[in-house]
């Protein structure tokens, strides 16, 4: 019997993978994709729990997460393009203009 705990465990694993990617990868686009993985793992939790609790609100929240993700993708990728134009790179190591 697959319980909500199974889903949450899976979600935790995916989240960890995403986190690891965010912390270690240098390519900004891959980083971005890792964030999507994290978001999706959270979505999974939401839907699983929504099902478990028997309430629609969680799913609605997933919907909003998707909206935000879409907006983020649009703006984030635009930023990367702009950055690439200036620096000829999207390596996060080159994203260091905000240092002291």
């Amino acid at each position: 019997m697959i319980t909500v705990n199974h889903y949450m465990l899976l979600s935790a694993i995916l989240f960890t993978i995403g986190t690891f990617g965010v912390l270690t990868r240098k390519n900004a686009i891959v980083l971005f994709m890792c964030i999507e993985v994290m978001l999706n793992s959270v979505n999974l939790t939401f839907i699983a729990l929504s099902r478990h609790v028997g309430n629609m609100d969680g799913q609605i929240f997933v919907f909003f997460v998707m909206t935000v993700a879409a907006a983020e993708a649009a703006v984030g990728l635009a930023l990367m393009i702009a950055f690439y134009r200036n620096k000829d790179s999207i390596d996060v190591d080159d994203f260091n203009m905000l240092k002291w």
């Binding site: 986190t19 240098k26 891959v30 994709m33 309430n55 799913q59 609605i60 649009a74 635009a78």
Partner: protein, 167 residues
Amino acid sequence: MEAILFYLTATVAIISALFVIKCRNPVNSALNLITTFLCLAVFYIMLEAPFMAAIQIMVYAGAIMVLIVFVIMLLNLGLAVKSRYSHGLAGGGFLAALTLLVTVYFIKFGEATGTGGEITSEVISSYGHTELIGRAMFVDFLLPFEIASILLLVAIIGAVILSKREV
């Protein structure tokens, strides 16, 4: 049957997610990410949320991933990045493990309370998932929905302005 499907899909999802962070070529990462998304869509169906599964495929696997792949192609990144990983490999691994530990601990010793809501399997099958979502969305969450639409509009404008060559 359900268990087999779950474990199978879960394995695929985890492996493809690992490939996302492992692949040298971002295009490969993107393709693996799509696989992960598809797996999640499967889970959504298993969780009796077919509408969410459809949205997942349309928005994530369709729209967002296409965008990402486009950008990768557009910038012609290929293998331009010299090394895949930054210097924080050990720290990242440690922290990720720690995160996993905490969440697993949480799941293991915690208990999902609050069962017994009004949306049961019977309700879903009698009304249909889409209608339930629609009702929640356009009755209870109308204002946030409208705000979300404005957010998207802002994002579009933002994206256009940011990627314009000359401001």
